[in-house]
């Protein structure tokens, strides 16, 4: 007598904003009568921080995992102990989406060292000898257009950063190169701009670049999206950068003097609005990488600020 428990959200894309009603039904499918000790539905949201082994050592990393910070917690008793009839039973539910006091609803984010996750957990207690039934369902939280604190707070700053950013890359513009090495680099000049370094996560990063000249043939031009997670600000922090996407925008020895578009869609789930809290930070950078035929490469780094709106 297999019974199945399922959570079905009303919204197909499972995306909710603060103040929304998270509504749906819990479905109990059973062949034959099903007795239980009560059905409870919990809505939870938490931030999990993990210290990188690279920064603090394996031992500490294992033990010093910071305690999850709960930012949302509600419980609903869907059914008192009793019996469900044979067939499908649908129990509707709805939760208003509000954070615990003094907490902020951050956007859902799955990183390597930082995880912000929201789930619905439905639990059915069963009588002795029968296994309890459990079903979880993740839902996604996004900012409303007025609670993207970073964007709202820095409106003026954003105005400034919203302006296009021009850049020119030449052997002379390179840092971390010794003078002798610099002289050995074949001459090149790449000019370009990013339309803005403040980007909405739902919109692509745009801009263009022109290879004005290059003595050595070019093999590839790539955009690398890097995520920088920083944990534990109070007692010394750990900072880790991971590549989350690499997109080629120039292939082969691209035509000189022709504007090649810079265009990168931010991958869902791996990006979120740039986040800065007391305990952790999630930031993003874009590297423009020019690879020459001889596999020499030149990288230009652009910190970008991501916003929801």
């Amino acid at each position: 007598m297999a019974a199945v428990l399922d959570i079905r959200l009303k919204k197909v894309n499972k995306v909710y904003r603060q103040g929304d009603m998270v509504s749906g039904v819990v479905v109990i499918q059973s062949r034959g009568e099903l007795s239980h000790q009560g059905v409870v539905l919990t809505m939870e949201g938490s931030t999990n921080l993990q210290l990188s082994a690279k920064s603090v050592g394996v031992f500490e990393a294992f033990y010093n995992s910071l305690k999850p910070i709960q930012i949302l917690h509600c419980t609903l008793e869907l059914a008192k102990p009793g019996k469900f009839p044979s067939g499908d039973t649908e129990i509707p539910f709805e939760f208003p989406l509000r954070p615990k006091t003094n907490k902020t609803l951050y956007e859902t984010y799955h990183g390597v060292f930082v995880n912000i996750q929201y789930v619905l957990r439905c639990e059915m207690k069963r009588p002795l000898l029968a296994k309890d039934l459990l079903k979880t369902c993740e839902f996604i939280v996004e900012y409303r257009d007025d609670d993207d604190s970073t964007a709202a707070a820095a409106a003026a700053q954003q105005q400034q950063q919203g302006a296009p950013l021009s850049f020119t890359i030449t052997p002379e513009s390179l840092r971390n190169v010794g003078e002798r090495e610099r002289a050995a680099i074949p001459g090149f000049a790449v000019r370009g701009r990013l339309d803005s370094t403040t980007c909405r996560v739902t919109r692509p990063l745009t801009g263009e670049l022109v290879v004005e000249r290059s003595e050595a043939p070019i093999k590839s031009i790539e955009l690398q999206l890097v995520r920088v997670e920083t944990c534990g600000c109070a007692e010394g922090y750990a900072k880790d950068a991971t590549e989350i996407q690499n997109i080629q925008i120039g292939e082969g020895d691209v035509c000189r003097g022709v504007a090649v578009p810079i265009h990168m869609v931010f991958p869902r789930l791996f990006t979120c609005p740039t986040l800065s809290t007391n305990n952790f930070k999630v930031e993003f950078e874009v590297n423009l990488v020019i690879i020459f035929q001889d596999d020499r490469l030149v990288t230009e780094n652009f910190p970008v600020k991501l916003t929801r709106f």
């Binding site: 919204k11 197909v12 894309n13 499972k14 799955h110 979880t136 993740e138 692509p204 043939p217 070019i218 031009i221 996407q245 690499n246 997109i247 080629q248 925008i249 120039g250 292939e251 082969g252 020895d253 691209v254 035509c255 003097g257 022709v258 504007a259 090649v260 578009p261 265009h263 990168m264 869609v265 991958p267 869902r268 789930l269």
Partner: protein, 822 residues
């Protein structure tokens, strides 16, 4: 002993024919009376008699189209058609209905028409946005019709590298069944990464055929994966295919590779699109199934949109540029689910993205694919096509860059061959621009091309892609362009070929009525062309014909009455031909051209020129080889030569003798020319019979025909007995020569019989059967032919019948001959 030996006969016209053994007795003919006599009774009608009477106008059209479509199926007709039309269908009737057969061919039989309508209906009903504007009319040549030619043209015998990927780990991963959405997505992306980065299984060296087979296999596995709901695997296959296009090694195969690979991508695009349509129409929870017609973005349910977005996100994360560009283009149509006006943005963006592709060939074909999908999905959009062309012009210099030059050197492909690889793609882009574009747009493109990138390659594609009528109307401009543009290795003769193809389809502007600049410029173009292609025999032949046509057109314009100026022009035409013909090496081509040009000159009253042409033709005759090689086999030229002599004789009749030359000067020349051909030439005897016919016709008081406005020998000599006598004497000489041939043919009875019979035929047609001596000669020949036994019995029978019928009508026929024929 078989040659008939009769006593020498006297000839009534002869004055001094003592040296002649036989004489040709010419029958005087009244051509007008003969014509009236032979004419069939006729009556005036108002309807075309062969038109099926019971069929209405509309029916005829449809039956015509049916016919067009069933030509290959051995004319099996449907009962309906049998009832609608009479048993005999004259193919010309449809033409009389004012529809040319070609436009009828374009129509389809009812069944395929229905199928197409159904398909179009489905498409337009599921397409988003305005329906009417979203279809291309028939004047746009579809990609389908180009594929075959590309595959046939761009082939290679080199080994091709086919990078194969291990697709199996993906399946395992799927079976593991990740739980949360996030994990699933992560998992899928990892699979994609896997596939992109490391899991290259093998690099195969394949022949072209194996390669084609591999791509076909990929197509099959794409469909299979899709069937099994393995969407990620399907995407992987699409990416793998698109990756093949980033590889421009074995470059001469690239256009064909493009054809093959984009077929797979089209399949992928269609599957994704249909899947979302399916979702949008049937998965809307609770709601009744929505008819696909209402699928504008606001009607697409969120779940379908989400699926759609997922595809776009996945594709946007493809690492490499070329595959990403191709795969996104493949599913371009899906943008319509999200936003009604999304196509134009996407098209513009993708067009710009192609600028990042360094290899000019790869970039061009990526753009061609974009235009191909774009034309299908959003046929009203053109801005992106213009952008594509602009980018092509801007990046054309890449062709001369080190990367390309090194690759070409490595692959041992020369520049001309390399540039021709661009043509199918460039043709397509330009076709998209040209389709339905105004004259102004086309001018603009042309001007842009000239100003920014004046290359032969581009000009060639312009001529291919633009409407032939457009090109033809500016034929002269295009010639100037062709002369001006830099070829950079692209052979210019191809340009002239393309221009020629346009002119075949559409005529250049009609020349004005006054013989002015147009005619003269055409002639001077021919002069230039002759200089440019002096070593191309077919071109020279064509030029001579062109100039002859020019002269004939001039004649038509002035209605046969030349002014001083037009006369000078046709003289110039004749001079052109006369100078051009000798540089052709093929004797038969030269013979024919001399004859045709002579005829043209004659029609244009250029008598001395006509004379020169005919003289040249006659003096060339001895040089005509006895056998030529056709398809590697040695064949006798006898039939060719005979036909030619017949044609020449017919022309000589209309050509008056030049002043200060003895009568029948050209005919004499012909006889001499024939005599100089080797004795072993079997054609000679038969050619003599043609000459006999000519001489017989030349002795008539009024000739059967003449060139309009040209006084022929009949009126020139006014049937002067001296002239007639001269003709008869000549005929006698020919006859004697022929009799000698008959005599000499004795060792070969077949030949002798045939020759004798032939002579009888000509004699019966042209000779005076009332002359007893002549009749006796024919009678002897007849007996000889009958005796040899191998002559054509049927022919003999009919000849005998003819003579008897003539006798019965009261024509004088010697009784002796009639007895022999009986």
């Amino acid at each position: 002993m078989s040659a008939p030996r009769t006593t020498p006969t006297s000839n009534k016209h002869r004055e001094n024919g003592g040296d002649i053994a036989y004489s040709w007795s010419i029958r005087e003919r009244d051509y007008e009376a003969e014509k009236a006599n032979h004419a069939l009774p006729s009556e005036e009608v108002f309807d075309y008699p062969l038109k099926p009477i019971c069929v209405s106008h509309g029916k005829i059209k449809s039956s015509g189209s049916e016919r067009a479509s069933t030509t290959s199926s051995s004319g099996a007709s449907t009962p309906k058609r049998a009832a609608a039309t009479s048993a005999f269908l004259d193919p010309l009737t449809s033409v009389l209905e004012g529809m040319d057969p070609l436009s009828q061919m374009a129509e389809l039989d009812p069944l395929s028409q229905m199928a197409i309508e159904a398909a179009a209906g489905r498409k337009s009903s599921t397409s988003l946005g305005s329906k009417k504007a979203n279809t291309l009319d028939d004047s746009f040549e579809p990609w389908k019709s180009k594929k075959g030619a590309i595959l046939a043209k761009y082939t290679t015998s080199e080994k091709l590298t086919f990078t194969s990927f291990d697709l199996s780990p993906a399946e395992k991963a799927i079976l593991k069944g990740p739980t949360s959405v996030t994990e699933k997505v992560k998992n899928r992306l990892e699979q994609l990464d896997d596939f992109e980065e490391g899991s290259v299984k093998e690099q195969l060296q394949l022949s072209q055929q194996e390669y084609v087979h591999r791509i076909d296999e990929l197509n099959q596995s794409l469909l299979a994966a899709w069937e099994q709901d393995q969407k990620v695997k399907s995407l992987k296959i699409a990416i793998q295919c698109a990756k093949l296009l980033a590889d421009a090694s074995v470059i001469q195969f690239y256009p064909s590779k493009f054809v093959l690979v984009t077929d797979v991508l089209d399949t992928f695009g269609r599957l994704v699109y249909e899947r979302i349509v399916d979702k949008a129409c049937h998965v809307a929870p609770g709601a009744a199934t929505r008819p696909p017609a209402e699928l504008s973005p606001e009607h697409v349910p969120e779940s379908a949109k989400e699926t759609c977005r997922n595809w776009f996100f996945k594709i946007a994360s493809i690492r490499e540029l070329t595959p990403r560009l191709y795969v996104e283009t493949a599913i371009l149509r899906c943008h319509g689910f999200l936003r009604a006006d999304a196509h134009s943005d996407a098209l513009a963006r993708l067009a710009a993205t192609a600028r990042g592709v360094g290899d000019p060939l790869v970039a061009l074909y990526a753009r061609a694919y974009l235009c191909r999908v774009g034309m299908r999905v959003a046929p009203t959009q053109r801005a992106y096509v213009a952008a594509c062309l602009r980018d092509i012009l801007d990046t054309y210099r890449q062709v001369g860059g080190d990367a390309v030059q090194n690759a070409l050197a490595l692959q041992k492909v020369d520049m001309a061959a390399y540039l021709q690889l661009f043509s199918p793609g460039l043709d397509w882009v330009l076709q998209c621009i040209a389709h339905g574009a105004s004259e102004g747009t086309l001018e603009e493109v042309l001007a842009q091309a000239r100003a920014r990138c004046n290359t032969a390659l581009l000009l060639n594609s312009v001529m291919t892609a633009f409407r032939p009528a457009y090109v033809a109307a500016r034929a002269r401009h295009f010639i100037e362009h062709i002369c001006d543009c830099e070829d950079s290795g692209f052979p210019k003769h191809l340009l002239f070929r393309t221009l020629g193809l346009c002119l075949v389809v559409a005529d250049p502007p009609e020349a004005q009525v006054s013989v002015g600049a147009d005619f003269e410029r055409q002639l001077s173009f021919c002069v230039e062309a002759r200089a440019a292609f002096s070593n191309l025999e077919p071109v020279l032949v064509h030029l001579v014909h062109t100039v002859n046509l020019l002269a004939i057109d001039t004649r038509r314009v002035v209605k046969g009455h030349h002014t001083r100026k037009t006369a000078a022009f046709v003289h110039a035409c004749a001079a052109y031909s006369f100078i051009t013909i000798p540089s052709i090496t093929n004797v038969f081509l030269r013979l024919n051209l001399y004859l045709v040009s002579g005829q043209v000159a004659l029609l244009n009253h250029c008598l001395s020129q006509a004379d020169s042409f005919l003289k040249a033709a006659i003096s060339l005759l001895p040089d005509a080889p006895c056998s030529i090689e056709i398809d590697g086999k040695l064949r006798s030229t006898e039939p060719l030569l005979l036909e030619y002599v017949g044609n020449l004789c017919s022309t000589l009749l209309a050509a008056p003798d030049p002043p200060a030359q003895p009568p029948l000067y050209l005919a004499r020349g012909l006889l001499n020319a024939l005599a100089t051909r080797g004795a072993g030439d079997t054609a000679r005897a038969d050619a003599y019979t043609h000459a006999l016919a000519l001489l017989s016709a030349a002795a008539q008081p009024a000739f059967a025909y003449c060139a309009d406005g040209v006084v022929a020998n009949d009126r020139l000599y006014g049937n002067d007995p001296k002239y007639v006598g001269e003709v008869a004497r000549l005929a006698g000489t020919v006859l004697n020569e022929l009799m000698q041939h008959v005599h000499d043919a004795a060792p070969s009875p077949d030949r002798q019989g045939a020759l004798a019979l032939h002579l009888v035929e000509v004699g019966v047609t042209h000779g005076d059967l009332g002359d007893p001596r002549f009749a006796a000669l024919l009678g002897n020949l007849w007996t000889l032919a009958a005796k040899q036994g191998h002559a054509d019995r049927m022919l003999m029978e009919r000849t005998a019948q003819h003579v008897k019928a003539r006798a019965a009508r009261g024509a004088p026929v010697a009784a002796e001959l009639l007895r022999k024929l009986a």
